[in-house]
Subunit: 148 residues, 2 copies
DNA sequence: ATTGAAACTCGTGATCT
DNA sequence: AGATCACGAGTTTCAAT
């Protein structure tokens, strides 16, 4: 079942672009920017939330400044019998796991990890390796990153 | 030179937690939640921005609903002589590249890609392979994902 | 769907403890 | 640091188009 695809016009895309740059932009600011009334902008944002295009708003944090300077991706290989939802759950229980991506092919999953230091990272990887039906891991340490 | 680490106390962490859940939460709402005055919450958020802990606010989007249903990670290998900033730039020029992570060891970089369909993904990967000093790629197709 | 106006809520800066 | 006050700015709803 493919996802329903709501109509999103050029104005909606401009609003989304503005909110990507600054998710706390005011409706008035956006209204002035794109030449619509405040109420119209609000209605569009409300509709984008209702249709699920906008799933939420969040704050962007420099984790290094909070003492979480280590970032890594770990590829996980599982036993052939392991169901996908089990793979998803493995990492959910480890708070340092930021995201889990199940993968078509090899490896079976890619997870994004944040740690305070290398010792901490090691402990997390050990815990993953001990967990259930993981047959192998390969960890990619992030040196630097850039996000659009 | 390690990053300067500003003092962030338990109250700041609670504020960050609230803003992670909903980046558009009002100061009054947060103030009521954690038992502080509105102005106090505002000053803390302002300070978190000034010290660089908060780098911004953004909207979270369901890209599949916008017709960008394909997500993939591609590992890139470069010639040994390629400088890191060149690696960073490779992908910057391709709009479908969402993020670039330079990696310690093998591969040299991991990039996150979004595409409309498999044909589109193929074109992006072809373009990466043709670009400059890339010696090899391995693409991991995302089946499903979960983010904390 | 968009607008404009009214009523309400919020953000912001000054001032004081 | 945090609280309180005051005012300008932003939000939300609704009738009208």
């Amino acid at each position: 079942m493919p996802e329903p695809m709501p109509d999103v016009d050029a104005l909606d895309h401009r609003i989304l672009g503005l909110l990507r740059e600054d998710g706390r932009r005011t409706f008035s600011e956006m209204a002035a920017e794109i030449g619509l009334s405040v109420a119209a902008v609000k209605r569009r944002v409300d509709r984008l939330r209702e249709t699920g295009v906008i799933t939420g708003f969040t704050v962007q944090i420099d984790h290094a400044k909070l003492g979480w300077g280590i970032e890594a991706f770990t590829e996980l290989r599982y036993q052939g019998t392991t169901p996908v939802d089990r793979i998803m759950r493995t990492a959910t229980e480890i708070p340092e796991v930021q995201a889990v991506f199940t993968i078509a092919g090899d490896p079976d999953a890619l997870i994004r990890i944040r740690a305070r230091d290398l010792g901490h990272l090691q402990k997390i990887i050990d815990r993953l390796r001990r967990a259930g039906d993981v047959t192998g891991t390969k960890t990619l340490m992030v040196l630097a990153s850039w996000t659009r």
